[in-house]
């Protein structure tokens, strides 16, 4: 596998190196650079703005406190940040599901404020778009290569944070089938992504 995660090409990784030694300005810059994507992830997982804001805050406190443990040779800074933020959101989501009545139905009318934010979410800076274009093309190709049912399963599992059994109920499929479909989809995705690199 070719390493593409060198900090030279990863502005967030450069910032992480300075955050690790306690540089507050770099932490702020890191927040400004990455929080729009991480917050969009929280919003879609938690479907409630205040909860998503709390999760993002908690996650960034953890990021500040554990920045020194980031190893650039193991993966991109975005991956490291996404792991912390995603785990924080999934924790919130599981606690929240105990009181499921609050969860906004993603297919219903929903929280207008939240939906507005997500509608505005497509307005990305031209630089960001250009930077991500080639990478995205490859990723999009790999996603397209999946069967449509697999695509949908992966996408719903990721954006809504559903478990195997929740996915089985949503797609009215047997649990074993969901597990197999997801496993195959993830493995094809990986093979495709790495095939594109080497």
């Amino acid at each position: 596998m070719i390493q593409t995660d060198s900090s030279a090409a990863d502005p967030a990784a450069k910032l992480m190196a300075r955050v690790a030694v306690g540089d507050r300005n770099s932490f702020k810059a890191l927040y400004q650079l990455t929080s729009p994507r991480l917050f969009a992830m929280c919003l879609r997982l938690l479907r409630a703005r205040e909860l998503a804001e709390d999760a993002l805050q908690d996650a960034f406190i953890k990021i500040w406190n554990s920045a020194a443990s980031y190893r650039p040779e193991r993966g991109t800074a975005l991956g490291w940040l996404a792991r912390i933020v995603r785990n924080q959101c999934l924790d919130y989501l599981r606690n929240r599901r105990v009181e499921t009545t609050h969860r906004v139905d993603p297919h219903g009318d929903g929280d207008e404020d939240l939906l507005n934010t997500l509608a505005a979410a497509d307005q990305k800076s031209p630089e960001r778009l250009a930077e991500a274009a080639s990478e995205n093309e490859r990723l999009a190709r790999c996603l397209q290569a999946l069967k449509s049912q697999q695509q949908e399963l992966i996408s719903v599992a990721y954006t809504e944070g559903l478990s195997h059994s929740e996915l089985a109920r949503r797609f009215t499929l047997p649990l074993g089938t969901v597990k197999t479909l997801i496993r195959r989809a993830l493995l094809s995705l990986k093979v495709c992504l790495e095939g594109g690199l080497s």
């Binding site: 995660d5 507050r24 702020k28 927040y31 400004q32 650079l33 929080s35 729009p36 994507r37 917050f39 969009a40 992830m41 919003l43 703005r49 804001e53 993002l56 805050q57 406190i61 500040w64 190893r71 193991r74 993966g75 991109t76 975005l78 991956g79 490291w80 996404a82 792991r83 995603r86 929280d111 207008e112 404020d113 507005n116 934010t117 997500l118 505005a120 979410a121 497509d122 307005q123 990305k124 800076s125 991500a132 995205n136 990723l139 996603l143 599992a157 990721y158 954006t159 944070g161 559903l162 478990s163 195997h164 996915l167 997801i182 496993r183 993830l186 493995l187 995705l189 990986k190 992504l193």
Partner: protein, 232 residues
Amino acid sequence: MRLSDSTLINYLAAEYALGTLRGAPRQWLETAAARNATLDTAILRWHGRLATLDQFEATPAPEIWLAIERRLGWTPTVVADASSFWQRSGVWKAWSFAATIAAIALVIVILQQTPSVQPQEWRAFAVLESPQQQRMMVLASADLKTLWFTTAQPLAIPAGKSYQLWWIAPNEKPVPAGLLPGANGGRIALQVAAAAKSQYVALAISVEPVGGSPTGQPTGAVIFQGKLLNPI
């Protein structure tokens, strides 16, 4: 479980990052990743891949960063300080809201719920209080062209009424600064077309007929008022 099979490692890492791996297996994997560099790398890479696949962006409200700074102990708690300063100063009582001459110096356009999709510098601008001690935090963009209002409870504007914002300067009549839209989630963004003037020292919100005061000066009850935290 042993972690010798790279396919298995990758599969578990992928399900972990996706979020479908739950309960005890998830906890086990977290513990294992802390000791196993290969597994940790696989997990990080899957988070990176999935995060890259997901291209949505949504800029968090400006007060989220301020809250992070506060929690890390980097900034004093401006809200409490400002409020006590305000209560001590008593400057407020000097303002009269009864005057009737129109002096429209600023045009404020109601823009949108979210002030900006682009990262922006925001600073605490004012803390407004209602007679019932309800607080409203006001943030301003660095260029002072956008104000962002946050309340704990959404503002319930009565039917047939508008809430109007006013700039206050010492020994001068209040200057109308725009109408607040019905708050969604307790947040309002107003874009100020002209930069605020340096003599303004406070903001106030009054209840007016729909469309704003017919006289150009406050005619109804003042429901929020507060001093600007820093000189403009």
